[in-house]
Symmetry: D2
Subunit: 419 residues, 4 copies
Amino acid sequence: MIGHNNEEHLALIADGEARIDWVRRYSPVLNGMVSNTLADGSLKGKKIAVVVHLEAKTAFLALVLADAGAEVIVAGSNPRTTNQSVVEALRDRGLTVVANADGDMVSWEKELLAAADHEPEYVIDDGAELTMRIGIHRPALYNRLKGVSEETTTGTARLYALHAAGKLPFPALTANDARCKHLFDNRYGTGQTTLQAMLRLTNRQIAGATVTIIGYGYVGRGIAEYAKKMGANVRIVETDPVRAVEAHMDGMSVGTAADKVPGASMIITATGGIRAIGAPEITTVDHDAILANAGHHDLEVDIDALVGMASSTKQMRPQITTYRVGERDIHVLSGGALVNIAGGSGHPVEIMDLTFSVQGIGAHQLINANLAPGVHVLSKELDDSIASAFLKSKGIQLDPGRPEQEDDVMALINKMPAV
Amino acid sequence: MIGHNNEEHLALIADGEARIDWVRRYSPVLNGMVSNTLADGSLKGKKIAVVVHLEAKTAFLALVLADAGAEVIVAGSNPRTTNQSVVEALRDRGLTVVANADGDMVSWEKELLAAADHEPEYVIDDGAELTMRIGIHRPALYNRLKGVSEETTTGTARLYALHAAGKLPFPALTANDARCKHLFDNRYGTGQTTLQAMLRLTNRQIAGATVTIIGYGYVGRGIAEYAKKMGANVRIVETDPVRAVEAHMDGMSVGTAADKVPGASMIITATGGIRAIGAPEITTVDHDAILANAGHHDLEVDIDALVGMASSTKQMRPQITTYRVGERDIHVLSGGALVNIAGGSGHPVEIMDLTFSVQGIGAHQLINANLAPGVHVLSKELDDSIASAFLKSKGIQLDPGRPEQEDDVMALINKMPAV
Amino acid sequence: MIGHNNEEHLALIADGEARIDWVRRYSPVLNGMVSNTLADGSLKGKKIAVVVHLEAKTAFLALVLADAGAEVIVAGSNPRTTNQSVVEALRDRGLTVVANADGDMVSWEKELLAAADHEPEYVIDDGAELTMRIGIHRPALYNRLKGVSEETTTGTARLYALHAAGKLPFPALTANDARCKHLFDNRYGTGQTTLQAMLRLTNRQIAGATVTIIGYGYVGRGIAEYAKKMGANVRIVETDPVRAVEAHMDGMSVGTAADKVPGASMIITATGGIRAIGAPEITTVDHDAILANAGHHDLEVDIDALVGMASSTKQMRPQITTYRVGERDIHVLSGGALVNIAGGSGHPVEIMDLTFSVQGIGAHQLINANLAPGVHVLSKELDDSIASAFLKSKGIQLDPGRPEQEDDVMALINKMPAV
Amino acid sequence: MIGHNNEEHLALIADGEARIDWVRRYSPVLNGMVSNTLADGSLKGKKIAVVVHLEAKTAFLALVLADAGAEVIVAGSNPRTTNQSVVEALRDRGLTVVANADGDMVSWEKELLAAADHEPEYVIDDGAELTMRIGIHRPALYNRLKGVSEETTTGTARLYALHAAGKLPFPALTANDARCKHLFDNRYGTGQTTLQAMLRLTNRQIAGATVTIIGYGYVGRGIAEYAKKMGANVRIVETDPVRAVEAHMDGMSVGTAADKVPGASMIITATGGIRAIGAPEITTVDHDAILANAGHHDLEVDIDALVGMASSTKQMRPQITTYRVGERDIHVLSGGALVNIAGGSGHPVEIMDLTFSVQGIGAHQLINANLAPGVHVLSKELDDSIASAFLKSKGIQLDPGRPEQEDDVMALINKMPAV
């Protein structure tokens, strides 16, 4: 724990508690249906590691698991995004927290190993970061893991790769593949908050701006749609031809990075890969353009390449680093980390209520459903139950459908002779 | 053929040719890459039935197949949507056309059987209408069929049901599952043209109108998105909870039909089922509200129920039938048929260029790829090739991606010991 | 009257009546508050010429005036837009109609003079077309005119020019300056129906299309906004710098015609001037591009220039004329007339309910308010009364505001000594 | 000056300079055409008070005036929005700054009187706050004032009221009436930044939220449009009937506060008046709803009424105050101050480049144009020159228009005999 006197400590706890209370108010699913489901006793004494950006929304998920009887070990998924108030509030509630704010990549690696050394049976992971480290550095524990629930597209790809390589000896649930996660989190959540963070950090206008987005997956199109609706001139760089046609028909200007990066005043990476803005692209970035990352890796904007090419570097404003490359100033937000998290507060509470409900129900499934080793997707029934709880919290009722509304194809098929 | 003198006949042919020429101008994929692919001789002499709404765009597909050497038999998929100019132009080119305009359900049934009696080997079908009739009425031919390519969601469901019932002895390609079809056709095409047809037929304003859409699949959300952007107050009735959450987060007002039908000035069905507006809903429709169908079945608006409940029926304007039910006038567009086809010109040319490219490439696959009996989806490679040809026609280039931009997960996995 | 037998005549009347009935159903303001206001007897015996596109909505305005006791003389404002069913229905009701369908510019000139020869006291005009002809050809009548109410921006400019030239000896009301007219008619009405007509005539897709709009006044921006929301890539050509900045901040691509016409697949004129697409622009139009006009003059697309430059001309589809200019085919919709009227049904009923309510109330003002010669605008009170009637018909209530919600600046001012 | 050691002081200055440099980079008009215009020597020695929210953008305006030779006195227009870094940087450059951060209403009153006591000849004012205080408290100076340029709608109304009361002995320019100000600032600037600030402070989601906006003037409609495009269900409370029809046709749900406040999760005031959310409305606010103000007065949300009705008050998160009223928690953002300024960074740089260019050119006019006492609007030529400079900075060129493109109404008028 960071050294401070008791009064400051109590103030931090109070602040953390208030932040978590705020989340609870706008999380009707996690606070309702999910908490009730988890209250069946099956989580009692189970050791669950939660490795997600450690701020108030994650803290509320950890508390829900702890309230259901689990022994929860909490780490952060990125050294820049841990909130100390929330850390103190969780510790005050008796949870094991191995993270602290103001860490760096070195301290974060230690945190993850510390989390491993608490010997979790289950991991709620982000990017498979803890899972892969356990596999590399704690192989015996890896073979004893009972289940992993993964948050992101990138982490899901890693789990499938592990499975294909014959190195996944436990069941993994790809929370990201649940409709209640990827349909909302990646599109609405990242779309809203990425632009929100960028505009706040830069005090720039979006209407009339030329914005280039690298990648038109769920994340990229969420950002593109919000940017376009807010008046930007949006350009898309995408390698998949069908997605490129979608972007074209969505009214975006589509092409290569060589064509779409020059002239852009804001450039956002959303590929899930690395070096989306690498040395070749940096050469073509406009003077005074702004670069930000909304994909998985801190490496989508190639900071190493920028440092190598720059004659000087300056901290212009909070979270804006300016690289002088030739006669051009290139401004990078939040050091190339996820700008909506490092430069903002991450996804909206309502989105994370759905996402963490998937994680909560997923953890319950891993503990109770006796899944075989391999990669699993949450069943449609459970996915639907989360959506239904959300709708119920909004007072929205659905029609069940009447039998006479179904296409009676069987009546026709029964008229056909056997083949 | 409808009786008329030679001059009229020539004028019809000329009109049909001009209509098909118009389509060709804006169909760079079908007129380019697809025609080139089909020119390899493999279609020579193959008998292919094309059973799709018989207007200029379908005619162009039929001509592309015929130009590649196939013997093409052309029928319509709906008696109301056949265009006689186009029929005459195709006959003039030597194709077998079993359809005529001004037919009804009885004449259409005869057309389909006439198409069957030309003994096609392959069927490009819509709603599996010809396929199922062959199965019921021409079982021997059914067992000799070499392949079916299906256009719609409803027809795809029928093919899967046939397969599940053990009654699919040939390979079927679900064109609808190709990304180049369902991502564009159902969303952009139906969305644009459904509202376009409704507003033209009624001369009504969309801005400020309260529009209820039954169904939030690809079709429903396409319509909803266009309606909302054009200023409508959009309400959604949907039975699937996850889709209902999507509608909610898209800013729609979501609920039951009992709640969302009253107060709406336009009501559009898009369920793919039947009786979406049945007797219970009719009871609650507002005076002077307008009903239209954009789903598969002519049966989504239950005309039989309306007729049974109405004290009088009147043709108010072209394609507007008014039912007097109690003190209320309920106006139905295009007799409940697909309003964008029966009351308009169907999908835009550009959309059908993609969709019919899928059908053209699909026919080529059925003929050449030796697929096993069962339901198949077009491969990603072929799907991508259509998208790429579309992009090329627009002058859009894509980046191939560089190797160093990939997440190198295998480097991590290789560090892990065997499990 | 066009020669035809009695049965056909009765069918035309019935069709015209049904069309007018349709308008009445969706015109709650004209059919309610306005009709009630006009029923005070002041219109009795007054001779009013109505010179607006003569279809069902205009017919309903004429009937409302006639029902209030006026002697109404009806002419069309464009020879291509007169509907014969509506003409017959009005004649059957006893109104004087000097127009017939299938006219041309020559017959239309005769119609206007025929309307003048019925010696109207008041004119409800469109483009000041009748007013100026009376001034030129019937000067004595011109000096006896008691008032003119003008529909359009262009006509308003003409009235102001007349006034400035000392040639306006009667009061003129610029209906176009009423907020209930220009805020809605030009923006929502033209925006919706221009694209609707273009897409129907061409069967083209708007999503992904590159659309250039010449002019960013109310009309141009209405079209631009609808086009952009429907997925088009919108380019604007505008001469006013502030409007150009607005277009830029609305996310449009702004520039000169030389820059923005090439590459566009649809080009729409909306300047209110003439020759917006003249010879210099025609030189740069793409092969297979489509030209349409949404401004006032049939002369915004310079057809004479096209004819002069073309090697051949062909009627490709209904209302599509194709000019062969060099190696390029240029397609003009509706001969360059207002595409939403000549190629569609004009403004939506709801919009014209507001606009014609302004005209109805305006006529009542001209008759009762003893206005001085010159150009007048409808008072805010009367303008508001129309809006209030519209809101009431939708069941919308407004707050009156409470006295304590006003900024009490006078309290401050009273503290200041006299200057 | 706030007491601190030299190192801290230098750091503040450096931070302020970096902030101002950031603004300069994205202010091509103020930094270009305006600075050049002001460099004609006419500002030399003129005493100008600048009373606008004192952060980096305002500081850059003050520097531009100072660089042109004016003696600039800088005060803030709201005690909560003054940035100390910027204050120090301006002082370091030799400007007179009478403001400091962390002030309150009492200290702010003193600041304004201190600004007055520097005896400015010209005032660039916000809400006419300094102008009216000079009128009340320094009447002799008031009579010597040579000109005022006013920023806001509210202040403009006050200047007209002063003029009507015979208490405006100098020329006042209403910058707000310049098209380059009100067309952009109120709509795009407030729209973007109000939601941006609200969503950041609350970490809430906008998609699917029910947002009630009180007032549908330029500010209200800007917020409404952004909120709707971002997926909110938007409700409007407006007292003007024509604006209410516009809101209806823009797809908003329109009604009284009594109808539209209950059920809303966010409520935003944008009336320009006071007590838009007063005691009667507070009674109907939902539990856990959020209130924010985007209008002129800190008094649009009636904090006094809330305090009077609340059983307890708590600071939930930074800038979120929670009032317990009965069983409901009501959360007020930024104490009811302008949420985009007090809870964010105010308008985007690009918007203020336009707005402050109007102020800069306005000051130049007041000094050079010898305007009569009364309220003046910037001429169309000067307004256009700002827009043109903006376009030029973006590389956008406009067509001048050709003479043959004008409607030749005079040719017609000349045919008419004299009346």
